[in-house]
Symmetry: C3
Subunit: 346 residues, 3 copies
């Protein structure tokens, strides 16, 4: 979605400090119009210091002001807006100074909307978008170019389906969701029963996908419909790009997954979990609330205790030494037995 590239009138440092609960060390009447990096900022920009790696950029910044936490304030050569959580404040200030443009109400002449669809007059349906019979688009919905909304799908208020995304039959989505390009919601789950001759017979996938409010779904991510029950994505869930969510999966509120995660069928994941890149979860497992999974972990048993877990990742090394070590992996059980023998004979 397009944002206004900068705020014409701007905001004063005094206004910013007041709205975001920061302590201002500088002139309250100075006006800023955009956010920028420390290195590129000019005096019409506000910048943020979040990461020690950028300390030199902080020391040489020409920003109008910098949001940072108390310990770094003495390093700031320009006006400082001191807050315990500069990253969270960043989100709000960037939203204010680079406002998301609202949808331009109307159905493009090159879109196709079924006469049996219900599209609120405030919706924007872009060129090439296809809205099927029985679909419902609530107030303020945006359907991007060449996106498709299937039969009987229901899209909640102010949700946005970006270019080339696909919402299949009967998918329901809450309010203020954001679906990135190429995402597919409601494709058939992977259900196959072998017949006596080793051929696959497709199991019809009769469930739906239900998506809560304030969910963000990344580019080219796929979410399968349930087999009999529904696949359910809770409020506030964040899914990055190229993620696979299998049929019947249920993901609790405010859980976030980085790119490339793959969740097999009928898994339940709790609330506020965080999955790093390329985590895999085997089918039919339960993961409780507040679990953190490090990159590449494969979950093959349920997790009933909050905490951080890892596996399947071994350290990177130069190829020659990796080869020697990896070759030994196949003798790890034998090695244990040899050590045991030594201990007994000792």
């Amino acid at each position: 979605m397009q944002r206004r590239s900068q705020h014409e009138r701007g905001l004063t440092l005094g206004e910013l400090a007041r709205r975001h609960g920061c302590e201002l060390r500088g002139q309250p009447g100075v006006r800023v119009h955009r956010v920028s990096t420390l290195a590129r900022a000019d005096d019409g920009s506000v910048a943020f210091f979040l990461n020690q790696a950028y300390l030199n950029d902080l020391r040489s910044t020409r920003a109008g002001a910098v949001f940072l936490s108390e310990p770094h304030a003495p390093e700031c050569p320009v006006a400082a807006l001191v807050t315990p959580n500069p990253y969270r404040v960043f989100a709000g200030v960037a939203d204010e100074l680079h406002e998301l443009l609202p949808p331009a109400a109307g159905i493009h002449a090159d879109a196709t909307v079924s006469i049996d669809a219900s599209v609120d007059a405030t919706c924007e349906v872009a060129a090439g978008a296809r809205v099927a019979a029985g679909a419902t688009l609530a107030r303020g919905v945006y359907v991007g170019p060449n996106a498709t909304v299937g039969p009987a799908a229901r899209i909640g208020e102010d949700s946005r389906l970006l270019a080339n995304s696909t919402v299949c039959e009967g998918v329901t989505m809450g309010n203020r969701c954001l679906v990135h390009p190429g995402a597919v919601l409601g494709s058939d789950g992977f259900g196959n029963a072998p017949d006596a001759g080793g051929r696959w017979r497709k199991i019809p996938q009769l469930g739906f996908v239900r998506i809560g409010n304030d969910v963000e779904i990344g580019a080219n991510t796929t979410i399968d419909r349930g087999a009999l029950e529904d696949t359910v994505i809770g409020d506030g869930v964040r899914l990055d790009n190229l993620i696979q969510i299998g049929h019947n999966v249920r993901i609790g509120e405010h859980t976030a997954m980085a790119a490339g995660c793959a969740i097999a069928g009928s898994v339940r994941i709790g609330r506020r979990c965080r999955l790093a890149g390329n985590v895999g979860v085997a089918g039919h497992l339960d993961i409780c609330d507040d679990v953190v999974l490090l990159a590449r972990t494969v979950v093959t048993r349920g997790i009933g205790k909050p905490g951080a877990y890892a596996g399947s990742m071994t350290p990177m090394e130069e190829v020659a030494s990796w080869r020697r070590n990896a070759a030994r992996f196949r003798h790890l059980d034998a090695l244990h037995k040899r050590v045991r023998r030594l201990e007994r004979s000792g």
Copy 2:
């Protein structure tokens, strides 16, 4: 594709038992209209018991009847349809009670079909679908909204290309295939030759993709065309979502792959193989028939013997202990040598 949500007239338990070779323990005249889970079923639904984890649901179900195997029949509080393979029967009964709607013959006014394409009068070409010159769509083909069919592609009878899928130039596909949204068939393979200066020169990809009958291809899966020969997908193959099939790969009949598998160029995979999630296969390898690969396995040598193989997955543990163990991996070869020294000195 849309299915009828339930069967108006329904089927009697007697009919179901007869058609699917089940032993009925209950009233043959009772009529059911849909399939459902044990937990949600009412007396117009038929349910299935497949998994011990749902034993409590079986004991309290209100279904019209339950398909299950002999050992569990005594636990069933309602009519039982006893069969040695409830999962396979499930596929058939669900198909009967929730019938796939046939394509609605015709080319949508918002579709584009080249005058040099051959489209059978029974095909449905949805809004925004593009069918290029020389393409052939056989009887009963469905091309979904915003799907594209490239020049000289040939799609066999009753095959369905769902929304936003892409079939590139010259791809051929058999009958009764199902291509899910966002899948790409026939993109160029990854062929690059380095020049003397370290720049890449593209190797033209001149082969095609040939897909057999009854193949299912998941959402956002990609299948590359061959470099000189063709990429070949055998009859009855099942590919889940987000899978990569490299150029010149040949996959044997009735092989199935779960989401996220990646098969490098020129690999040959036999018949009836099963690849779990995120398996990788290095280039130019041969894998024989009837091989099972567990999740995350990386195949770096050919497999000539049917059986189950695994690798590259290590158990999940809490982060603190994982860190200690993973750090030791880099000393595994050294550890072997130390043990050997101890054994010799013993």
Copy 3:
């Protein structure tokens, strides 16, 4: 993109030898029209011998001529074109004999081009393509069926955006790039700040994607826009299918990545690196020039020294022995300690 399936007039072996610096052992006047495999070639085809595995095909080929290196020339039963680098020559000869067709200038009646877009008269904009306001397409650009070009995007000369690809707002691309179907360039990066209650607040993604010249981007690959700075893909970069490039990533010239790689945010990768399939790189790391990463490696620390690195891949074995070995991984640290104790007591 469509290529001419073969060259009508053909080229003589003498012409091929001269243009590509090969030594011809055969009749210079013989004419060939296409490239083919050794096994399938007829006397109008030229073939290539690149891989020892195909030695039998070489010995029995009926090709008009074969490109190969000196040591294999004695095995060639037909005319030989001897060169130290048959693979590189292959690229050039295939390009000459199977020429890429130039775009057919014009905007299809079923495309949508904003009156505020700038489209050169030589561009081809296919059916269903959407070009938004402020977008610029330079000379010779091809926009495929149902591809979308967002507001203010700039596409350089002779670049090609294939079917169903998505170029988001403000993305810039150099000349002669090739974007495969389903690729998404410029989706929002994954930026979320937790609020006090554990809810995610979206960080607006205000940067762009800048792509150099001669870049190839694979099917369903995703490249996120920067958060504040830009995501930058250098000249000549090759990205295979289903790759994820996070926000603010910078990739140096002529680096190539195989399918399924995932690069987290703010990573810098040098020039001429080669990443095999499914490599992952954790956020904010720097990788220097000329680094090779084997399949499945997870990079969790910066790499300052050119060379080949590996990790996270352990050998495939039969499931029974894999299970025993993998189970021991969780005791690897304990095993080291036991060995140390034995050594001390020895």
